[in-house]
Amino acid sequence: MEKTGAEILVQSLQEEGVEVLFGFPGGVVLNIYDVLFDSEIRHVLTRHEQGAAHAADGYARATGRVGVCMSTSGPGATNLVTGIATAYMDSIPIVALTGQVTTALIGGDAFQEADIVGITRPITKHSYLVKDVADLDRIVHEAFHIARTGRPGPVLVDLPKDVTSARTVHHKPQPVELRGYRPNLKGNPKQVKLAAEAIRKATRPVIYAGGGVILSGASEELIRLAELIQIPVTLTLLGLGGFPGTHELFLGMLGMHGTYAANLAVSDSDLILAIGARFDDRVTGKIEEFASNATVVHIDIDPSAISKNVQVDIPIVGDVKLVLKELLKELSGGSGQWVKVRERWLKQVRAWAEEHPLSYTPSKKKIKPQFVVEKVFELTKGEAIITTEVGQNQMWAAHYYKFNRPRSFLSSGGLGTMGYGLPAAIGAQMGCPDRRVIDIAGDGSIQMNIQELCTAVQYRLPVKVVILNNQFLGMVRQWQEIFYHQRYSQSCLATAPNFQKVAEAFGAKGYTLTHPDQVEPALKEALASDETCVLDFHVDREENVYPMVPPGHSIRDMLLGRGKKEVEKKVSIADRDKITG
């Protein structure tokens, strides 16, 4: 029997196991919305397409499944762009469906026409413009296959309106066969042997793991490897949760806002075992001085990630989980001796951790932002899904919430997208109805997608928004304090809405909290509630995130606090020009 393109699309989505779709309608997708009206797929109506893209991303990060978002052509599609770029930078599998003007009108500057395939080409793993309804089901299955396999990423499918109304026969899904796309999953056994040998020989090894561990579901293997060989582990922002935050071998995050112990351990190591990480500049600092005495082993599914920024000695291209399994086989046997072998190195590393642990000055009068995050951690026992916005809030969440499970920390790392946290929390909550989902936000970022409170309320999502309100674009202010003589140009947000009232206006529960004593009771109440809650914590305004590595410096050079300058060298003008952020 023949079906319309819209029917074929929805059926193909179901064949891919899609249960929920985040979107916003418009003219050229009405055929699809008409089919969705009777479909079992749940459609979540966000209030802005950017929200839909981030929600699909949050859903994907929290569940490991492909997230799906949809928009109309033109402005709907361009509104998805930031969300697609966010997913691309962090290798998150989403499929973005965009409506397009009818094929006959394409190229003629038709109403609400935008070349979205062209616009998103550099920020998608792949994209399709469907020109013939006969290709539609195959393309949908290819899109999901490409999004979720190899190094995952966003795939865009552009759907002209006439394609969704044209009729054809729908075919059962066939195995996807793409001659130009065959990700290498199994690591080369020779390389694995070489890596094992290097690990055995190392005296000061460090594991540096990233988002790849989470994407490939390799946390268990990572823990076993670290414990077997007694190697301390540091994680990137995206890796958090990939190794337990409370594990005795965990050093904390590394890089620009890495811990003292992690940054020194990496700098002093003789072997870096990089796992599913990409040597991003926020991690490496001054690249020439990054782990300059170490042999570098790099396990990654993406060959282009290898030796891109740092010359790798032993590359292993493959799926992190499979490679770690092989590596474990290679290294197991004769266990027990490692505890002794590693004694000195671990003692050194722990001494660093004790010398300068993450810390802040507690206060009885002012709410410290770090204190709020600590309380959130305590009260949720590390079991919540935390999303973040971008800036200081993001770093404090990364520092003071100890993630013991993968897929629990959802944050825009690569792109650093303010406005990510709330819609991502909505996506995560849709995918994980039984978990507490909390967006740790700044007062600046939350205003970027605050309209999504309405979405949370509509779908009765018990998402909690914890605003660390410093009345500043805090991270910008911090940079201006340190590098621009405290000239707070355009970073002061003294004019702000009353977030409690905003929450209430959207139908959520709102709180305003100004005293440290209010923190715990308010959090307890909100966490126990099934309502969408916004907690506006008025925090100490000029608190900074430490440690901080000035841009262009080795990650060894950390500012550890105001007046506690580890870096003696003044940041020069030349360094200023390297500043991006």
Partner: protein, 160 residues
């Protein structure tokens, strides 16, 4: 160093844009590029001349391979290969330089593609050096216009 890269791609619309975008987006330069279908009409071959150090070339190779529509990539510079370019040159014909013009044409096995009232159009193929030589010799005779193709290259024998 300059490299000639041969790329087999799916013969679909948008593939050229993807590849051009990859080069421009990542700051690699394209000196020349030529595309045409292969014996298999679903596959096209691109020959790209680019330059960069070993690291850049390694990245270009990897980034190209990462594209879904790219089937295979060779850096033919590292192998035994034959390469050719085509040039079309329209040259003034004046009485006093006429003989010289035909001598040069003959020496380079250039064919006369078109004869106009006051000019002839020559067609020649060769590797880059040969084309450069031809142009150098024709210049004093009065080149009105010349159009050069990108380079195409083929491996000398079956190689992996």
């Amino acid at each position: 160093m300059r490299h000639t890269i041969s790329v087999l791609v799916e013969n679909k619309f948008g593939v050229l844009a993807r590849i051009a975008g990859l080069f421009s987006g990542r700051g690699y330069n394209i000196e020349s590029l030529s595309v045409a279908p292969t014996l298999d009409p679903t596959v096209s071959r691109m020959t790209i001349v680019t330059s960069g150090d070993d690291r850049v070339l390694e990245q270009i190779n990897k980034q190209l391979n990462k594209l879904i529509d790219v089937i295979k990539v060779w850096d033919v510079t590292q192998k035994e290969f034959v390469d050719r370019e085509l040039v079309l040159v329209r040259v003034e014909v004046s009485k006093d330089k006429r003989d010289e013009l035909f001598r040069v044409a003959e020496r380079f096995e250039a064919r006369i593609a078109d004869v106009g009232e006051r000019s002839v159009t020559l067609e020649a193929t060769g590797d880059e050096a040969r084309i450069e030589d031809l142009i150098r010799l024709l210049k004093p005779l009065g080149i009105r216009e010349f159009v050069r193709s990108g380079r195409v290259a083929i491996l000398k024998s079956e190689q992996k």
